[in-house]
Symmetry: C2
Subunit: 163 residues, 2 copies
DNA sequence: TGCAATTCATCAGTACACTGACGATTATCG
DNA sequence: CGATAATCGTCAGTGTACTGATGAATTGCA
């Protein structure tokens, strides 16, 4: 059957399988964390804001590899849920200064088990010995392909404050 | 630095890395195939329609693991580009019967090198010996987690035409 | 045969991702 | 200093993904 071969060729392409795994991973997170009403993306932003108080949106993007345009909506939703605060930048009035609220910190603490079980479920089909291998390869693929996404992770800015 | 540890914990989570790899893979496809004006999703749909003439939208979804709601827009865009035709189903008037056009077949043939180079680029950071291992694990993760996405691949319908 | 359950495509609503563009602001350098 | 370049957040537009709902059509079964 030519059509079955064609299907297989398509369905076994890295790009196709990666898309599917992303969908699965996203769905597992929503399911495990449904009591908390945040998405994986919102969770990542919240954690990063929590560990970088006063960060601006573009710097946040460079840490978690979000698109600069997308982040606006994400932090807007976090703000609406009162998990973060967004103030105008003090030094640079182009920026918005992001900081986590006590409610945000509480959510991070409470959601932790759900986050952990999500990661466990994603890798559950692999044998224990394979999981490390897979994660190393995944990390490798992401980091060496970093430059290919619009939102590459950038190294700590070399503040040319050579004073 | 607590904040750097926090960042690492987040940035090395399977879910986070999978999201990023998906973004990278998508961007690589668009870049390699930019002369053809189709997305990875549209390409997958086109190939599947090409090998299953007259298929309806829901059956198409079950092959390539799309969401039933999403496919409407995708095939609409393919139709607008005259790569497929969408007719009302003959036997079942609820369905739309999808078929590829000559232009669609031509595009599939011409885009092939770009598709191949995309898949090569995605896996390029791995050593040749690792690529098979990674693909096997990826396949395993997707198939054994299949039920967790909204759009699971379904086996050939058991047309209870036990006749 | 007739009605309830199911299925197909689609809709409205929400969220993420990216392109290209913009005004406002800040940085750089002649 | 002052003009130019770069950066920040945002906007409009497009595309993918999913929830929950609906009307139309088909199926299953009493």
């Amino acid at each position: 059957m030519a059509r079955l071969d064609d299907d297989r060729r398509l369905l076994e392409m890295p790009g196709h399988l990666i898309r599917r795994l992303h969908q699965i991973s996203f769905a597992l997170f929503l399911d495990q964390a449904k009591a908390f009403g945040v998405t994986p993306v919102q969770y990542a932003a919240l954690v990063a804001i929590g560990s970088h108080p006063g960060i601006d949106q573009t710097a946040l993007c460079s840490i978690i590899a979000f698109d600069r345009t997308t982040i606006g909506g994400v932090v807007g939703r976090l703000e609406k849920k009162k998990l973060i605060k967004r103030l105008n930048g003090a030094h640079d009035r182009r920026t918005k200064s992001l900081s986590i609220t006590p409610a945000g910190r509480t959510l991070i603490r409470r959601i932790e088990p759900a986050v952990q079980s999500t990661q466990r479920l994603i890798l559950a089909p692999l044998k224990a010995s394979e999981r490390n291998t897979f994660m190393q390869m995944l990390w490798h693929l992401v980091h060496l392909n970093n430059a290919h996404s619009r939102a590459p992770v950038r190294e700590r800015e070399r503040k040319r404050r050579t004073s």
